[in-house]
Subunit: 340 residues, 2 copies
DNA sequence: GTGAAAGCGCTAACAC
DNA sequence: GTGTTAGCGCTTTCAC
């Protein structure tokens, strides 16, 4: 913290201005001086104090992208982050600060407070918020402060969003079960309020049943928020007890499906013949579980790329863009469902 | 970027010094003025420019912890990060910047360069390097620059380390197979050079064989670096072909074990009776795979906590500590091994 | 080709 | 209680 350009200026018998020029590869310095300065800088192991550099008039633009993650399986976070990073490196002077809200004890209010505070950080070039449902007030505040923001996996009319149509995806999952002959289909889903994903998946599920004239009753929905295998098995048990003729289950996440499948296997329920199962997320493990899990795959990596590209566009044009990009999901058919 | 204390000073008819006092809750301002300033600040939506604040003489201490991750399964990264964050929040003025090197295309040189560059960032309070094997030069540079550093999952005499004894862990895994009756044990392991973990696991494996007077030949080692299921299955195939009587396999990671198990099942090899299997990492998924995977569990979360505590101690005492903390691992016995 | 001086936004002595 | 002023470490005119 002590070594400044002054020291190295003195040591090289030049002015601080000259040192600055050399260190920044500016013109107008004789090769001789340039070398001398460079050498003493090297010798003294001088490193510029970046913040000071950035405080000046000549201040560089804001420099980093902040990502704020809500609750999600870390596999998804990982893939999303991969996508973001790939694109960020193209705008290569940005770094990414990564904030995880589940670290904050899943406390959505803390997340909101945190995001609000982010506005104060004038070094943020842009913000990507993932898996966090914000109210309109916060979003409009962000927009109002011209903090470029892209929402991933939540919808809002007030900001740019990158989403997959979860209603459609869930419709697809449910319809696939119907087409493979399921007559009585249940759904196990979280109702944590922080993201639209869950409610959308319920809606898509219902729509599919209705579209195929299949009776629906609220009994066919089981809510499970903990994502603990034990709890999920319990949820599966309850769902089955309430619906003895159940022959298909949509799990709103693969991780929950694993526990559900385990329960079914323990009860000697044949999968897919007695009960078929579809999950969501298409985790890599799906290939290893038995039977291999049919699941809805969402293009997480691409979503990350898309979000960052959109953000990059805003930053470049220095203008808020309000665009909703909906990406397609697809069903990866494996062994927990019968063939059509 | 425009609104500074000058503007709000002018708007409130006071000096910038007064504004600064109010905004920093300093004494010596009349309630009247304080209120007025606060109100105009609110009205004009002023936020202090943090960097300028930190550039002054009065400069705050360095403010963040940098984590640099090498290659590891994201489950492990997640747990480690959890541990770090839990402790960081106790030193609550620190934030964590999180850097992932696999984003950098697994290029270890880039990681090293990156870490070297980190020295320049005088705002770093401390550095936690995980799953990256650094040469002595870099480490001594870090130390020399008084950049407080803790290494996780790699050893070095030059810096503080938090590790588990992988030789011992692997010995434990191998010995367990021996005790359950395995006579011919192979190991499938990565030989990526970036961490000691792999070589240690080979060493522990060999030691166990020797200790129990079991013949070892290099044929019993199969290297697999890609972590691709297909490649790992191939590795398993090769290992079995070279060692027809093989009745036990140590996989140096659970993820690889999954693929290996899948291969064995495809070949109708009974697990654990024909071939027993032990993995490393104790991923959560182990409960769901069939047969449930026996694995060596390492206390990732605790390692994160320990590393951050150690770093915190250095920062607090403003002094480099060179301490190696070795945590214990344990074997979680499930169904891929026979009972003793 | 080189250096003096101003200024970035902020805080903290120290006058008034 | 309030304002004046110096200074943080750096870059950038603009004279010399």
């Amino acid at each position: 913290m002590k070594l400044t350009i002054h020291e190295i200026a003195k040591a090289s018998n030049v002015s601080i201005a000259t040192v600055s020029k050399v260190l920044n590869n500016r013109e107008g310095v004789s090769e001789q001086v340039r070398l001398k300065v460079l050498q003493t800088a090297e010798r003294l192991e001088y490193y510029p104090y970046i913040k000071a550099r950035e405080t000046g008039l000549f201040r560089k633009k804001a420099k980093y992208i902040a990502e704020v993650f809500g609750n999600a399986h870390h596999s998804l976070i990982y893939e999303l982050e991969q996508g973001i990073s790939q694109v960020v490196s193209k705008y290569n002077y940005y770094e990414v600060k990564h904030f995880l809200s589940h670290i904050e004890e899943r406390n959505i209010d803390k997340v909101k407070l945190f995001i609000n505070n982010l506005r104060r950080d004038q070094d943020i070039a842009g913000l990507i918020i993932l898996f966090v449902k914000l109210n309109d007030k916060i979003i409009s505040d962000l927009v109002h402060h011209k903090l470029f923001t892209v929402l991933v996996n939540t919808r809002s009319d007030l900001a740019s969003c990158v989403i997959v149509d979860n209603i459609k995806s869930s419709y697809m999952a449910t319809e696939y079960l119907i087409k493979t002959g399921c007559k009585k289909i249940g759904i196990i889903v979280s109702d944590a309020e922080n993201i639209d994903v869950w409610s959308d998946r319920i809606e898509g599920y219902k729509k599919a049943l209705i579209a195929h004239s299949i009776k629906f009753s609220p009994d066919q929905i089981e809510y499970e928020n903990t994502f603990e295998p034990y709890q999920t098995k319990l949820a599966t048990k309850l769902l089955l007890e309430r619906n003895p003729k159940l022959d298909g289950i949509v799990f709103a996440s693969d991780w929950q499906a694993y526990a559900g499948i385990q329960y079914l296997k323990e009860k000697k329920v044949a999968i897919p013949d007695d009960v078929s199962v579809v999950g969501f997320d298409d985790l890599k493990f799906n290939e290893f579980i038995h039977p291999r899990l049919t699941s809805i795959k969402q293009p997480m990596e691409v979503m990350g790329q898309t979000a960052m590209n959109l953000l990059g566009e805003m930053i470049k044009k220095d203008k808020i863009i309000r665009r909703t990009i909906t990406l397609e999901s697809n069903i990866v058919v494996r062994e927990t469902t019968r063939t059509i």
